[in-house]
């Protein structure tokens, strides 16, 4: 960390300790959300999410694959994430960083554990099944990639249309049927800074945070969790934050539904 980063981080910590945030939000306020679906025609589904100044684009491609021998009656969903070098001065070209892999796997877990797509529905017969590849492209970083990416991935699969499938061949010129979406998951990510906890941390808040907790829910049940960084949470804090994440789902769901087409 350079001197300027340390001064900035100290400033954020002082602010948060007083119960304030740099952009005037309350501790559990989420920044403005804008979701635009269907921006990439070639993808079977796509969605761009702006969460404050964080911008991510998710594209869904639906491909014919051989089934796995341990799941002969199912297709698959695979989520990947790229922290593109154009998204932040901190990001570099090269193989996916541990941060990118963690991001992808946490988004994947929420959608998978939430049974948002029933994998049995993707089975085509005769050893073939659809694989839904969701690639999350981070275009501009300003904190909380987890929630932005879950919104984008979820919106992209809800936007997707399955290619026509005949005699073992997929016809990408003819895409009509949507995927059968059986559940919708959202995630709420909390930053712990000192003894304070904030929902939807911005980039500068993340640079000062001690620990991070992402909780994905479908509004009824907690579907996935991931704690990150070297700080800690107490059981009481996790208990309380799980309640907040479950309540906030309706708010995220409204944004997802509004952008659906």
């Amino acid at each position: 960390m350079g001197a300027l980063e340390i001064i900035k981080s100290d400033y954020i910590r002082e602010l948060v300790a007083k119960g304030e945030r740099g952009d005037g939000r309350k501790d559990m306020d989420v920044r403005d959300i804008k979701i635009t679906t269907g921006t990439i025609d070639h993808a079977e589904g796509s969605a761009q999410v702006d969460l404050g100044n964080t911008r991510v684009l998710a594209g869904a491609k639906i491909m014919v694959d051989d089934v796995h021998s341990d799941t002969p009656d199912q297709g698959n969903i695979v989520v990947s994430a790229e922290l593109l070098p154009l998204a932040s001065a901190e990001y570099e070209s090269g193989p996916p960083s541990p941060e990118a892999i963690e991001l992808a796997r946490v988004v994947d877990r929420g959608i998978r554990a939430g049974n948002c797509i029933k994998l049995e529905d993707l089975f085509l017969g005769e050893g073939k099944a659809w694989t839904v590849y969701v690639d999350v492209y981070v275009l501009n970083y300003d904190g909380n990639l987890f929630d932005a990416s879950t919104l984008a991935a979820m919106s992209a699969i809800m936007n997707a249309r399955i290619p026509e499938y005949k005699d073992g061949v997929a016809n990408y010129e003819n895409r009509k049927e949507p995927l059968n979406i059986t559940n919708v998951v959202s995630s709420a990510t909390f930053a712990k800074i000192g003894n304070s906890i904030l929902l939807d941390p911005s980039g500068e808040e993340e640079s000062a945070m001690d620990a991070r907790l992402t909780i994905a829910t479908d509004g009824n049940v907690i579907r996935a969790m991931q704690k990150g960084l070297s700080g800690s949470f107490t059981i009481e804090e996790v208990d309380k934050l799980a309640g907040i994440a479950l309540e906030k789902h309706q708010f995220y769901l409204k944004h997802i539904e509004k952008a659906k087409r």
């Binding site: 341990d70 799941t71 002969p72 009656d73 199912q74 541990p98 941060e99 892999i101 963690e102 992808a104 796997r105 877990r109 929420g110 998978r112 554990a113 907790l213 009824n220 049940v221 907690i222 579907r223 996935a224 969790m225 991931q226 704690k227 990150g228 960084l229 070297s230 700080g231 800690s232 949470f233 107490t234 059981i235 996790v238 208990d239 799980a242 309640g243 479950l246």
Partner: protein, 240 residues
């Protein structure tokens, strides 16, 4: 998660497949100081898991640009041996799952090691899963904590880890492989036992808020047994 086609009955007459109660740990055995070259090491058998952990350092951070002039950096490699699985042959080297586990494990130990004591240096934690039967990341963290203590690295606490899960309506402790494949939730946690603080928390599946609470409490309760096994392993070094 495996196909639901051949899902076995995981609970019969109120007992789990291996005869355990819902809140019961698998047998746990830890031996410290098992490798000559490493500064600290531990071998752990936890149910059918076989785990080796070794610590090198503090030593000069390499490459040099990774060094932090204010504190030590922690590096962690969690890796599964290609022969560790029952029915599959894994690939050598880290995959995406191992990369994620290495990252969250590193973050656990950054919390408890007095990093300021060793500026400019690195501490390497190597976790090799020789045989896997569910809960390997928890077993790896539990073993690595012993290896770090064995290496004489100053820590504020001896961390342990274990997972809770859900099978049907039952919240259960220390999920094994077959339970993990077919269970309704899995939640590995690492705890700093002195303060009860959560240093690692991951979960997937489905838990209500109440089940989450119960799972976390089971993990805290299990700490007494796991911490004792860790401390005994360290004491036993001096009995030999």
């Amino acid at each position: 998660m495996a196909s639901s086609l051949n899902k076995p009955e995981l609970i019969v007459n109120g007992k789990r497949l291996d005869g355990r109660d819902f809140g019961e740990l698998r047998p746990l055995k830890i031996e410290a100081n098992v490798l000559k070259n490493a500064q600290g090491s531990a071998y752990l058998e936890w149910g059918n898991n076989r785990v080796l952990a070794a610590v090198y350092g503090p030593r000069e951070a390499t490459p040099r640009h990774t060094a932090d002039s204010t504190k030590a950096i922690v590096k962690c490699r969690y890796s599964m041996a290609p022969f560790s699985g029952l029915a599959d042959h894994g690939r050598t080297g880290p995959n995406r799952r191992a990369t994620e586990i290495s990252k969250v494990t590193k973050e656990v130990f950054e919390n408890v090691i007095f990093l300021n004591e060793f500026p400019g240096s690195e501490i390497d934690i190597f976790i090799e899963i020789l045989q896997s039967d569910g809960g390997t990341r928890a077993a790896g963290i539990t073993a690595a904590a012993v290896a770090l203590a064995n290496a004489g690295i100053k820590m504020k606490d001896l961390v342990y880890a274990v997972s809770a899960g859900r099978i049907g309506e039952h919240v259960v402790l220390d999920v094994n492989m077959i339970e993990d494949n077919y269970s309704d939730a899995d939640m590995p946690m690492a705890i700093s036992p002195k303060s009860g603080e959560i240093l690692l928390l991951q979960m997937d599946g489905g838990l209500t808020k109440e089940q989450l609470r119960k799972g976390m409490e089971m993990v805290i309760e299990a700490g007494k047994t796991i911490s004792k096994a860790q401390r005994d392993a360290l004491k036993d070094i001096y009995k030999k």
